[in-house]
C-alpha cells in the first residue's frame, strides 16, 4: 500500500432507522493518514451515526468501508479496535471506582498486557509522547471531565488505535482544556495518526482541522480544505438553502409582557455555567423561538422557568399574570409553588416519555397526572381526565386502540400529540415546548404548529425550542439564539435569514459584532 491510499474510505454508506428516518444517505468520504478531518453538520445531520458505523456500534444498510484500501466488515466494537479504529464517545465508557490503569486494563488478557504496573508504565509513556497529563493511579471519580476524556483517548491509543474519532470532544471542556486537547491532537497528527473530530463549532473547525467534510440532513455535501474555508462559507454549506415551509404565522395585536428574564445564570451538573447571564422578555400572543446547537442551555432555560432548575443568585424571572400589572418572582420557587401562584407553565419536555408521560399508563391516567389534586378528599376524579383523553383522541386524531392502552405502545407522533394535547388543555398562560416535532412526520408536525398557533391567538406566551431553522424562521415571531449558554442575539422571525441565525448559533463573535453595530 502506498501513501496515497486513504486510511479509511467510505463508499455510498446508507443507514436508516425504521422505515422513515434515514440517518445517512449515500455518503462517500475519505480520511487520509496523518490528518485531522472535521466532520461538520447541524444536529441530526447524521454525523454521529456515520461514525458509529466505523466504530462498530451500528452496521450500515448498504455501502462499503475500506481500511487501507481493503474492504472490511465492522460488526462490533472489537472489530473496530482490531482495525485500529477507536472512538471517544460523548458519554465516557469508564468505571468510576477503578483507577486509570484498571480502566485501561479492563477486558484485556494479562498475557498480552503484563501486570498492571506495566500498563501504568505504558500509560506514562503515551502521556509523555503526546503531551497528556494523567496519573495512572488516580480514581476516575476524582477526575475532572477533561481528565476522563484524556483517559479515554489514552485507553484508545493503548489498544493500538491509528484512527481516532472524537464525538464533540469540546462540548464538555473549558476553553483552556480545549486548547490543551488541540495541542495533543496536533502531536498525534504529527505522529501519523488520523483524527476525525465531530463538531458543530466553526471556530474549532478552523483552528484544528486540515479538511472539513460537511453533512446536512444525512447527506454528504462536500469536503473543503480548511485553509480555503471561512465561517461564512462553512455556514452556508451546513445550513443549506432556505426551504419554503408555508407555516401560518398569524399577527397578533396588543401583545402583553408575560415573562421578563434578567441575568439568568444556571449551572449544569458538572458545575459549569450552562446559562450565562441571559436576559430577554417573553410576550403573550407570540411564539418565541429558541435556537441553538443542542446543549447550549435550552434545557436549563426551560427548566429554570418551570422551577425544575436552580438559578444562581442575581437571576430573576418576573411573571406578569394576564391583565394584571403586578409582577411575581419565579426564581427560588419550586414547581408546585409556581403552580399555586396561578402561573400555568405547561411543559413539553425534550424526552417525551421520560419526563412527560408514564409509559405504562393509558391516556386517561396520564391526563390525571396533571389533575389528580382536583379530585375529592379521598377519591380522585377519574371522569374528567377520561373525558379529556377522549377529546384529545378525537381532536388530534391520536391513533390508539382505546384510551387505556399504555402510551408506551403508541407511535412517537401519537405520544407527542397526547403530551401536547394535555399541556394545552390545562389552558396555560405560558406554554413551553421543546423539540415538539422531533421524529414526527410532516402532517403531524403541521398539526402541532397549528396547535401552537391556536394558543398564540388566545394570548398565550409560547416558547418553542426547535432544531430545524426553517421551521423556526417560518413559525416564530422572534427567535432568541443561544450559543454556549449565552444569549447571542434576538432576531425577528419575519426578516431573519437562515445564515444569520446559523452564524449566531455557532459563533459568539458574530453576536458581539451585531451588538456593536
Amino acid at each position: 500500500m502506498d501513501n496515497k491510499t486513504p486510511a479509511i474510505s467510505m463508499r455510498n454508506i446508507t443507514k436508516a432507522f425504521g422505515s422513515k428516518v434515514v440517518a445517512n444517505k449515500n455518503v462517500s468520504m475519505d480520511i487520509e493518514r496523518g490528518e485531522i478531518l472535521a466532520l461538520l453538520g447541524e444536529n441530526g445531520s447524521g454525523k454521529t451515526t456515520l461514525m458509529n458505523m466505523l466504530s462498530g456500534i451500528y452496521r450500515q444498510d448498504s455501502g462499503q468501508i475500506f481500511v487501507d484500501g481493503t474492504e472490511v466488515h465492522i460488526t462490533c466494537p472489537k472489530d473496530a479496535y482490531e482495525l485500529g479504529i477507536g472512538m471517544i464517545h460523548q458519554h465516557f465508557k469508564l468505571v468510576d471506582v477503578l483507577t486509570a490503569t484498571e480502566n485501561v486494563a479492563l477486558g484485556m488478557q494479562k498475557k498480552t498486557t503484563g501486570p498492571n504496573r506495566e500498563i501504568a508504565k505504558a500509560i506514562t509513556e503515551i502521556c509523555d509522547k503526546y503531551g497528556f497529563d494523567i496519573d495512572p493511579k488516580m480514581k476516575v471519580y476524582n477526575m475532572t471531565v477533561s481528565q476522563k476524556q484524556t483517559l479515554e483517548i489514552v485507553k484508545t491509543l493503548y489498544r493500538g488505535a491509528n484512527i481516532l474519532i472524537l464525538d464533540e470532544p469540546t462540548a464538555v471542556l473549558t476553553p483552556q482544556e480545549t486548547e490543551k486537547l488541540f495541542a495533543v491532537l496536533r502531536n498525534m497528527k504529527a505522529d501519523g495518526k488520523s483524527i476525525i473530530i465531530i463538531t458543530h463549532k466553526l471556530n474549532e473547525v478552523l483552528a484544528i482541522s486540515d479538511r472539513v467534510s460537511i453533512l446536512r440532513k444525512g447527506e454528504y455535501i462536500g469536503t473543503v480544505q480548511t485553509s480555503e474555508a471561512t465561517v461564512q462559507s462553512l455556514t452556508e454549506m451546513m445550513v443549506g438553502q432556505k426551504v419554503e415551509l408555508d407555516i401560518e404565522r398569524p399577527d397578533i395585536e396588543n401583545k402583553e409582557l408575560r415573562l421578563s428574564i434578567e441575568n439568568l445564570t444556571c449551572l449544569d451538573r458538572y458545575g459549569v455555567k450552562a446559562l450565562d447571564d441571559v436576559s430577554f422578555d417573553v410576550y403573550g400572543g407570540e411564539i418565541l423561538g429558541i435556537a441553538g446547537i443542542s446543549g447550549s442551555g435550552q434545557k436549563q432555560l426551560l427548566e429554570a422557568i418551570a422551577g425544575l432548575q436552580k438559578a444562581e443568585s442575581g437571576s430573576s424571572i418576573k411573571y406578569y399574570a394576564p391583565g394584571e400589572k403586578k409582577e411575581s418572582q419565579l426564581v427560588g420557587k419550586n414547581v408546585s409553588e409556581i403552580k399555586r401562584m396561578g402561573v400555568a407553565l405547561s411543559f413539553v419536555p425534550e424526552d417525551r416519555l421520560g419526563m412527560g408521560l408514564v409509559g405504562a399508563m393509558g391516556m386517561a391516567d396520564n391526563m390525571m397526572l396533571r389533575s389528580y389534586q382536583k379530585g375529592g378528599v379521598i377519591f380522585t376524579d377519574r371522569k374528567t381526565p377520561r373525558n379529556l383523553a377522549t377529546k384529545i383522541k378525537d381532536d388530534l386524531e391520536v391513533v390508539t386502540p382505546n384510551i387505556s392502552t399504555p402510551v408506551r405502545k403508541l407511535s412517537g407522533g401519537n405520544v407527542q400529540k397526547v403530551l401536547v394535547g394535555r399541556e394545552i388543555a390545562s389552558d396555560p398562560t405560558v406554554l413551553m415546548a421543546a423539540y415538539a416535532v422531533r421524529g414526527l412526520d410532516i402532517n403531524t408536525s403541521y398539526t402541532i404548529y397549528h396547535l401552537l398557533n391556536e394558543q398564540k391567538k388566545k394570548g398565550t406566551a409560547v416558547i418553542y425550542v426547535g432544531e430545524d431553522l426553517d421551521v423556526l424562521i417560518a413559525l416564530c415571531d422572534r427567535i432568541a439564539i443561544l450559543c454556549g449558554g449565552k444569549l447571542n442575539g434576538v432576531v425577528d422571525g419575519r426578516t431573519a435569514t437562515k445564515e444569520e441565525v446559523g452564524l449566531l448559533m455557532t459563533n459568539i463573535e458574530a453576536g458581539r459584532k451585531e451588538a456593536e453595530a
Partner: protein, 334 residues
C-alpha cells in the same frame, strides 16, 4: 469463659461468612441475590440428603469411610446450591426478571424445598422427634485436630473447629485476593459497576453474571452444610437454620463488600447473635430477663443499620454498593 464465648461466636459466624462471601461475589457482578437464605437452606438439605443416602448405603455405620462421608454431602451441597444460583441467573440475567422479586421467590422456594425434603426424610426414618440425625457423617465434619484440646485457651479459640470453618476463611481470603488482584476480578467488578462499559471493553457481561452468581451460591450453600453437619452435629430439623441467611446479607453491607472484612465481621456478628446467652455470666450483677435478651438479639441488625448510616454519611465511593447492583443490563440501551 471468654474463650468459650469466642469459640461459640466463631461457630455462629462461619455460616454467615460463607453466606456473605458468596453474596459479595454475586453482588460484585451486579446481581442482588436476595435468595441467599433459600440457597443456604438448599445447600444444607442437599448435604443432608447426600449424607442420608451414604449412611443408608452402609451395611454397618462403623464402616463409614471418612473421605466418602465428606465428599458425598459436600458435592450434593455444591450441586444443590449451584442449581439454585443457576435458576436465579436464568431468571434475572436471561429473562431479565426483577432481581428483588426473584431473590425473595428463591428464598421462599428454597426454604420450602428444604422443609419438604427434610420432612420426607424424617417420615422415612420414622423418628419420634421431628428431626433426623446423621451423627456418623457429622463426626467427620466436626473432627478437630487431636491435640487442640491440650493447648488450653489457644486451642479452644483457634483450633477447635471442623475443616469447613477453615475452608470458609480460606475462601474469603481467596475471594478477596481474586477481586483485588486478578484481571478477571477486575472485569467482574466492572460488570457490577458499569456493565455497558464492560461490554464495550469486550467483557461478556452475561458470562460473568452467571459465573459469579453460581459460584457465589455454591459458596453460600457451604454455609448451610456447615450449619447442619458441624454446628448442630448432623441433626436436621425443619426451619432450624433460622434467620442466618438474612444475617449473611446484612453482613455484606456491614463489610462494605469486602470478603476479608467479612472474616472479622462474621465472628463479630456471631458474637452479637449469641451474646444474650452470656450476659448473665459476664455481668452477674446485672439481672437480664428474657425480654431484655430478645432486645439484645437484634444487635447485629442494629449494627448493620448504623454501618449503613455511617457509610452514607461518609460517602466514600469505595464503600458504596456496586453501582449497577440490582439493575438488569440490556445491550440495546448503550
Amino acid at each position: 469463659m471468654i474463650a468459650a464465648f469466642i469459640h461459640r461466636a466463631v461457630m455462629q459466624g462461619i455460616p454467615l461468612l460463607f453466606g456473605a462471601t458468596g453474596e459479595i461475589i454475586t453482588e460484585k457482578s451486579g446481581n442482588l441475590n436476595l435468595g441467599i437464605p433459600g440457597v443456604m437452606y438448599v445447600g444444607g438439605i442437599s448435604g443432608v440428603i447426600g449424607a442420608f443416602l451414604y449412611e443408608n448405603s452402609l451395611p454397618d455405620k462403623s464402616q463409614a469411610n471418612g473421605f466418602l462421608a465428606i465428599m458425598i454431602p459436600l458435592l450434593a451441597c455444591l450441586l444443590g446450591s449451584f442449581l439454585m444460583g443457576l435458576l436465579y441467573s436464568f431468571l434475572t440475567t436471561t429473562l431479565r426478571a426483577n432481581q428483588n422479586v426473584t431473590g425473595l421467590a428463591i428464598t421462599t422456594f428454597g426454604v420450602g424445598l428444604g422443609n419438604f425434603f427434610g420432612g420426607s426424610l424424617i417420615k422415612i426414618v420414622g423418628a419420634d422427634v421431628p428431626s433426623i440425625s446423621l451423627s456418623t457423617t457429622s463426626r467427620f465434619f466436626s473432627a478437630t485436630l487431636p491435640f487442640a484440646k491440650d493447648l488450653g485457651w489457644f486451642g479452644e479459640i483457634f483450633l477447635s473447629y471442623g475443616f469447613l470453618a477453615y475452608l470458609a476463611v480460606i475462601i474469603a481470603i481467596i475471594a478477596s485476593l481474586y477481586l483485588k488482584r486478578t484481571r478477571s476480578g477486575l472485569n467482574l467488578r466492572a460488570v457490577g459497576e458499569n456493565p455497558a462499559t464492560a461490554d464495550a471493553a469486550g467483557i461478556s457481561v452475561t458470562k460473568y453474571k452467571y459465573t459469579a452468581t453460581c459460584v457465589g451460591s455454591m459458596i453460600a450453600g457451604l454455609g448451610g452444610l456447615y450449619y447442619v453437619m458441624d454446628y448442630v452435629s448432623g441433626v436436621w430439623s425443619n426451619d432450624g437454620f433460622g434467620d442466618r441467611g438474612w444475617l449473611a446479607i446484612a453482613l455484606v453491607i456491614f463489610t462494605v463488600w469486602k470478603p476479608n472484612f467479612a472474616i472479622i465481621g462474621s465472628i463479630l456478628f456471631g458474637g452479637l447473635y449469641i451474646v444474650h446467652n452470656y450476659l448473665n455470666q459476664f455481668f452477674p450483677f446485672i439481672p437480664v430477663d428474657m425480654s431484655t435478651q430478645e432486645l439484645i438479639k437484634m444487635a447485629p441488625y442494629v449494627v448493620t443499620v448504623l454501618v449503613l448510616i455511617f457509610n452514607s454519611m461518609r460517602n466514600k465511593r469505595e464503600s458504596q454498593p456496586p453501582e449497577a447492583l440490582g439493575l438488569p443490563y440490556f445491550r440495546e440501551d448503550r
